[in-house]
Assembly symmetry: D2
Homo-oligomer: 242 residues x 4
């Protein structure tokens, strides 16, 4: 089995070169967010891109214990698993309905970049019962994280064609929808990452990098306030013979 | 099932308060590394702590495709799994022999904080064939990442009793060992996190937060340079009926 | 959070009723394969169905260490993880290219049950570059496991419309393909499970139940013959700065 | 990377030899439980061993949706993940407090095989606050699954020194304990597997093989009765700023 890579070269003396830079230089001179951007994109961010990238990662860092990912992480920790095991369990709580939407939202925006008639596309998607990723939220009418990110995207000058397209889609969607469909945080991140020039296949990855610290905090809290292994009580299970 | 938490409060209007701060303020005003430190420790870092924390996270961001975690991540990606699935596979490639040592190294240092006779403790551990976590490396004689981190710990004034203890342990270990046992990156991170005042139970978690972007980069590279599902060839498997 | 279930009722005295039967009766009176069939399908198998179900599960029990799933399981075990952790890692080595195809093959067969013109459908799929699940193998020209399963399906009388359809598809596919496309083990299992009357959404699940013992055997072997944590050597990694 | 194995030899023509037997012969002639026993132990079971092995696997096949493993599996499925992904999530809900105890119970029994003074050993463990694996249950006063397994172990003649030791430990434990400590299903399986002659390192693995079909059934039920992604409601989360 052979792997070709252009990410990191670990030399025989233990030194490492990452995307052409010495790792020890990056350790001394760069912040973590810059190095994340660099390892994913192969270029260092300029000041605006870095501001935006920090904001994106922070915006998804946690969303409380009620989410599928945080529950899974805490349940696994409650069975006395190690941190890395509970973290993997938490990550398997993400899925097409949770977190992974950044990627599909980026693909949707890229596919419709040149689309002159978005309303019609949305109408056709509605007829095929296809879902437009990046809009709507199970709980909120507006998503304050999306609002904060778009404000910063305008301020830094990052907001471009994709942010405009995301807003046009939102406007068109809400014309024909009975319930309010705000751009959610996945949709906002998708539009901004497209404007920065990230590959759509990195959408979920960037979301996950942002959220992992939140999962670690939840696992640590579960370990610290150890209340034994999690179980549903009898009122939470209903058995009915089929 | 009920979860008590002091991490994040998601309010009914969608706003979030994290460790007492509004999430939208953190998005606007703080870097990702600051917010990671804050969500884990409940306090914002001062300038020295932040410099050190950025350096720690960067130092472990990747270690090439030859490691158990990167291989698992790429193999899972080669089976056409989504990013979050391959990431979880990669994280399950960590273990007591890979990454998780930061935590046991912190526990060892904390347990021996007041130890006046480290040499004797090490001698007793050797007799019981117990391993001292944070020293030695399968490949290197010195670990350039550890050297860079300790230099920065001195420069920022973070290096304190635990960094001194880690060095004393290294010195004592090498008196009685036939092969060179440098402090490795796990050991250096452990000593510095102890001097900052982090809980030992967060050792692996901080390592994992640092490494996840590297795994994401490897998964993305595997997806992009898709060479089909990974298999060992016939020269790499040897069958012998027991 | 509330779960409605018709699988198992755990009573307050510790007794369990599964699909309407007392668990202690099943323990005494039934084989494991019967109880698997029963928990999945809600009915006990007749003798032919049971023979076939045993054969299906056995046919996928292992496929050697060179597969993505076995590699992932063994690599995770080599990092000194527990059995359940290494097993989860192994399972994340399955994916759309490995194992999961049983499910898509069942969906394909069910969708084309009434199709009078399979050749044309296959031609259209070819034009859309869609892949027909359950045919072809990376390594073999014929799949002896598929042959053995179909022989048994005929012998037991289980082989019905779906097995006939699977064969018709194979024949049509090979008329237009330059390389031999045998029905592989996934395709054979799919056709037979359709003829028994299983839900397509259980296709991967049945495959996984069959393969888990093989993964456990590999993990146990890796733990027993412990050769340290797995790493690629320097000849297996090629670094090229992009 | 090279793997030595004595499990399965996949030949160039696609035929497989497992532990010295042709896979196609096993498919035709053996039941799934026999082949599981064979792949793990390298020998075919005799009739008593097979009866017992079937009973052990059946006894742990499911324990309802309230357990950590079933919850994790269903939560992951509710995020719209594939079967194999949700199954891995479920398996990460096991841990030292759930399922994995079979292995530690086997180790405990093997270590005390020749122990003439079990009561004193238990007293010393109590003083060191060490837990005796395989006894007690969070919910039940007696474990009907353990009772059924021991009855069958006597009937088949499998019950030997280890079953006797497990009972002696139970008796001694309950002399000094204020609450009833029955042998639980993990403890019963451990004693019986020791009497059959299984390696302790296979304890968790056999438990997991038995439970995987239950997890598959729960995931399938969650997919079929799809009620959207799982979330705790606001009464189930309590936020308190630390």
């Amino acid at each position: 089995m052979k792997f070709k890579t252009s990410i990191t070269d670990v030399k025989k003396d233990g030194s490492e070169v990452m995307r052409g830079e010495k790792l020890t230089d990056l350790i001394k001179e760069k912040t973590f967010a810059e190095v994340i951007y660099f390892i994913l994109k192969g270029q260092m961010p300029d000041e605006s891109q870095l501001t935006m990238f920090n904001a994106i990662l922070t915006s998804v860092i946690d969303h409380g214990p009620a989410t599928a990912s945080a529950m899974n992480a805490r349940i696994s920790a409650s069975a006395k698993n190690d941190m890395h095991v509970a973290l993997a369990a938490g990550i398997l709580g993400f899925g097409p309905r949770h977190g992974v939407a950044v990627e599909s939202a980026m693909q949707f925006l890229m596919k419709n970049k040149e689309n002159k008639n978005v309303s019609q596309t949305l109408q056709e998607m509605k007829e095929r019962k296809e879902y437009v990723p990046g809009y709507g939220h199970k709980v909120f009418d507006t998503d304050p994280r999306a609002t904060a990110l778009f404000a910063l995207a305008k301020e830094t000058g990052i907001a471009g064609d994709y942010c405009a397209l995301a807003e046009a889609v939102r406007s068109a969607l809400n014309e024909s929808s009975s319930k309010s469909l705000p751009i959610n945080v996945d949709g906002a991140i998708a539009a901004i990452l497209c404007d920065i020039g990230f590959d759509a296949a990195l959408g979920s990855g960037i979301f996950l990098i942002g959220r992992v610290p939140g999962l670690v905090a939840h696992i640590h809290e579960e370990m610290t306030n150890d209340t034994g292994i999690r179980r549903l009580d009898s009122t939470e299970v209903e058995y009915k013979n089929a």
